[in-house]
Structures are given as C-alpha cells and as structure tokens.
C-alpha cells in the first residue's frame, strides 16, 4: 500500500502544480485539474478505508492524509469566494509538505481499531476537526502572507477563522458526547482535551478581538501565528509534553 501511496501522492501534487500553472492562463481548466488532485487523494483514502476495514482516521499519519485532502478543498472554496489565488497555492504547498511527511514516515497501517474508537461519533468528530484545522491553518498561512508581502489578507483570514471556529466547536462538542458514551464522562481535563479547549478558546478570543478592535491589524495577524502554535500543540505537540504520559487520547504513533 505504501508504493501505491507514493504514486497517488505524486499524482495529486502534479495535478495541483499543473492546475495552478494552467489557472494563470485558463482559470476553469486549471481549477478542474487542481480539483482532480484532491479527488485522487480522496480516492486513495477510500481505498485505504476499504483495505483496512476501518476509517483511516486513527493514526497521526492518517490525520495528515485527511488534512492533505481537506486543506486544498478549503483553499479552493476560499479562493472562489474571495476571488484570490494565493490560498490555493499555499494550500497545495502545505498539503504537499504533509504528504511528504507521510512518505518519509510510512505508517505500519495497523488494521486494528480499539473498542473505544468503534463509535458512530468517530468519523464525524475527526472529519469536522480536520476541516476546522484546514480552515484555521489557512488563516495562519494568510497571516504569514500579511507579514511577508504586506497584502491585506486579514478579511480572508477572518472568514477562515469564523468558519473554522464553527467546525472546531462542533468537533469539541461531538468529542464530549462521544467521551460520555465511551469513558463515562464528557470532560476529564485529559492533556489532549485541555489543549483542545485552549485551541478553541484562543480562536474564540481572536473573534472577539477582531469584532472589537478592527484596526489593530498587525496585532491580529501576530495573534493568528500564536494561535496556530496552540493548535499544533493540540494536534501533535501534546505527544511531546510532560503531561502526555497521562493522556488516553494521543494519536497512535506509527
């Protein structure tokens, strides 16, 4: 399956690159080619699901695959809505990095799914979470562009955070409902839960700051970079913290 993965990943990256190049001259076919790249990865995820006999959402590597599908999709949506090109470029580059990490660290593709994960909440919880991560990291890419080029990317960032926070709220609450069914309590301040709360709180803070202080643009852009550091801690950094040994939710490392 790993040989197949490198083929699919390279094909997807080629489609994104080709699509972005084509888009400069012919927008519609360029967008089609770019979307084909997303579809190729989605097909791979479908194959993997069928081969493993469980949703490919359990290991850190599998969440990276899901992210590499959803981030370019989100970038397409943002690009179309705001008539921008850079989200598609940044989205494809970021997704390619994550595919590269997966190529460098192939998962063992363990078929097992521990009983606690066998729940109808598993798929919606992970999908809305990775979708939220895609929107929120897109906002961080936008803030990086704000500092690098001086472009006014903040309107697009604001909307990415707004949509991302909506999905993050759903993911957090789905997780609480699921935890009640699986472990007996909806919230136990497990390190992963604590960082999920902190991630939610910092983006909630961003929304309130933006609605109150529109003009503080540099502060807002800097705040988004700090926020994505918290998000990264929640997604994979928590595995390296002193508190990780007490967590029941850390992703299985390949």
């Amino acid at each position: 399956m790993n040989a197949a993965f490198s083929t699919f990943a390279l094909a997807a990256v080629a489609c994104w690159g080709g699509g972005l190049l084509t888009r400069r001259f012919h927008p519609a076919p360029g967008l089609m080619l770019y979307s084909t790249g997303i579809a190729i990865l989605a097909a791979y995820a479908g194959l993997l699901w069928w081969q493993l006999g469980r949703p490919p959402m359990r290991t850190l590597g599998e969440t990276r695959l899901l992210y590499a599908i959803l981030l370019p999709a989100v970038a397409c949506g943002v690009a179309l809505r705001w008539r921008l090109v850079w989200p598609m470029i940044y989205g494809a580059a970021m997704a390619a990095v994550f595919l590269g990490i997966n190529l460098a660290r192939p998962d063992a593709f363990d078929k097992t799914l521990m009983p606690a994960l066998q729940s109808p909440w598993f798929v919606p919880h992970v999908v809305v979470y990775i979708l939220a991560y895609a929107f929120l990291t897109a906002s961080a890419l936008g803030s990086a562009r704000f500092f690098l080029t001086g472009d006014d990317t903040l309107p697009a960032c604001d909307h990415a955070v707004w949509i991302g926070l909506a999905f993050l709220t759903m993911g957090l609450l789905f997780g609480a409902i699921w935890a009640k069914e699986a472990w007996g309590h909806y919230w136990t301040w497990d390190p992963k839960e604590t960082w999920a709360f902190l991630t939610w709180a910092i983006y909630l803070g961003y929304i309130h700051i933006r609605l109150r202080h529109c003009q503080a643009r540099r502060f807002a852009a800097g705040f988004l970079l700090a926020a994505v550091a918290i998000l990264g801690t929640c997604w994979f950094g928590v595995n390296y913290l002193p508190s990780a040994k007490t967590s029941v939710h850390t992703y299985t490392q390949p």
Partner: protein
C-alpha cells in the same frame, strides 16, 4: 495608578481594571488553597449547589438590568477577553504539568500545580468568566432582533455548560466496580477510596474478548469486549444484559461503562472493570451542548465582519 487624574477604578473601566480583577481573584484563590494545605476544592453537593447557582443566576439577572458603567464593564468584551486569558493561562499550566497527584513533588502539590482544574484559583477565574458571560447574555436578551438569537445560542449555551459542570460537580459520582466471572457484586469504590452500593447487584455470567488476528511481528489487539451480566434487583425479575465499550448500560440513574479487564493466572480474561457513573446534572449539560451546536451551525450562515471590512 490610573494614568490620569482620576483614580484607577473611578475613570474609564477597561482592560487594566479587568486584569486587576482577574489577577486579584486568582491570587485570592491561591491564598485560600495554600491555607488549606494545597488540596483541591470540595465542591458543594445537592441541594446547596443548586441554591448557590440559583442565587448566582438571580444576581446576574438583577445586575443586568442596571445600565451603570460597572455592569457594562463587567459584562463587556475586555472583561471577557481578560477572564478568558486567566482561565487559559491556568489551562496551559494544567496542560503541560502532569495532573497526577500521586507522583508530584511537595511544592507542586502545595501550589496546586498538579490539580489545577479542581483548585480554587481555577474556580475563581471560571466564576469571573461566568459572571461576564452571564451578564453579557442577559444584557443581550433585553434587546430585540435576529442577532439576539444567534448571540444567545452560543453564549447561553456555553454559560449553561460551564455552570452546570462547575456547580454540578459535587453531585457527580464516578466509581469503580470489579466484576469476577461467576460472582455477584453491588459495591463500588470511588477515586478517594470511599465505598458505596448500587441499588442493584450485578452477576457476571461471562466475560469475553474478541481479538484481531495476530500479524507477523504484531500480537493480536483486542477488538471487542463483552460482559454478559445478570441484573439482580429485590422482588423483581432478573434481567440479562450485555455491556460493551461504547455501549453502556443505564438503570435507576446509574450508567455502567465497561472500561477494562484483567486476565486470570491461566491467561484467560475472567474479570472486568466497570465504571459506575451518576451524573444528575447531565440533562443541563446536554441542553447547553445542543444550544452551542445550534449556534455553531448558525455561524456557518453569518458574516459578522462586514463592519470590519471598511478600511
């Protein structure tokens, strides 16, 4: 102090005053905690927690009717941001330092760093946030228009979740029970070692573990645990039930979760660990969760930044 001729509290109330209030509340919490030897708070239980909550809610409702500057500040955005920062910074400490009271050094225990989330400083910061959130919600409910609904779903939902979780924690019972194959049991033991009894007994007929097939270099992992249990109740028919992970069993206000199992000396699984939970405030939690879910869905259809888009 205030930076101008007026005093710190008599001039404009904003971020600095909110920071002073938050730091003050957290410090008071720390002093209380330190004076009590560093132990966590013992949350009040029914009915005193309900009385406290009702008084708190009534106070917020009354206060929100005032249009004074103090109330506007206490229920405003700067106070919200600063009190969230207070909760957040304590949360960062709790997210980095292992929250395991049995292995932590003495100084960490005395400062409450190994049980941040049950400590008085965190409770103080959360109470400030609840005051702000409650006032903001009540003040908005006194207005009219579609924005009120959107605002209330999110803010009231969060207030209900936080308040019910905080004030209801004194009534939450999470206890463990060990079931041995071929034996009956009704006793449960909580994390502090206190014993209690369920209103019914459980007789473990059979405990089985289904494994994934072992692969080269990888032992078979458990796929499914099943406890086949007979529920024994006074002067009622015995009832055969199945408890599995993610499929808890509910009866008489208790919910029983299968959490783990032990192997017998011959390697066969013959006893299982049950978590018995009683959480009478759960309907309030779910009410808040579903309000917030409604608010999250409504977010997808709104554009709040129009005023911000003009340069």
């Amino acid at each position: 102090m205030g930076g101008n001729t007026k005093g710190f509290w008599s001039g404009d109330l904003g971020y600095r005053q909110a920071a002073a209030a938050t730091v003050g509340a957290i410090l008071v919490g720390w002093v209380v905690q330190f004076a009590r030897g560093g132990g966590g708070l013992i949350p009040p239980s029914w009915p005193s927690n309900a009385i406290f909550l009702a008084l708190f809610l009534g106070w917020l409702a009354l206060l929100s009717g005032s249009d004074g500057r103090l109330v506007a500040w206490l229920g405003g955005v700067p106070f919200a941001l600063v009190s969230m920062l207070g909760v957040g910074l304590l949360g960062v400490a709790g997210g980095v330092i292992p929250q395991t009271t049995d292995q932590s050094p003495e100084w960490a225990r005395a400062l409450g760093l190994d049980h941040i989330f049950s400590g008085a400083p965190f409770a103080a910061a959360l109470l400030l946030l609840l005051t702000n959130l409650g006032l903001a919600t009540f003040r908005r409910l006194r207005q009219h228009g579609p924005k009120v609904w959107f605002f209330s779903l999110n803010h009231a939902g969060l207030w209900i979740v936080l308040a019910a979780a905080m004030f209801g924690s004194g009534d939450l019972i999470r206890a463990r029970m060990i079931l041995l194959e071929g034996q009956a049991e009704a006793m449960v033991v909580d994390a502090a070692g206190r014993q209690g009894y369920l209103p019914f007994g459980l007789f473990l007929q059979k405990f089985s573990v289904e494994q994934y097939p072992a692969e080269p270099g990888r032992p078979g992992a458990p796929k499914r645990f099943t406890a086949e249990v007979t529920v024994l109740r006074k002067s009622q028919k015995f009832e055969d039930v199945r408890i599995e992970v993610n499929k808890p069993f509910r009866r008489d206000g208790w919910t029983l979760y299968l959490t783990n199992y032990e192997l017998s000396p011959n390697g066969q699984p013959n006893q299982c660990l049950i978590e018995a939970v009683r959480d009478p405030w759960l309907p309030a939690i779910y009410t808040g969760i579903f309000l917030m879910l409604g608010g999250a869905v409504a977010m997808l259809f709104r554009n709040p930044f129009a005023p911000c888009l003009q340069p």
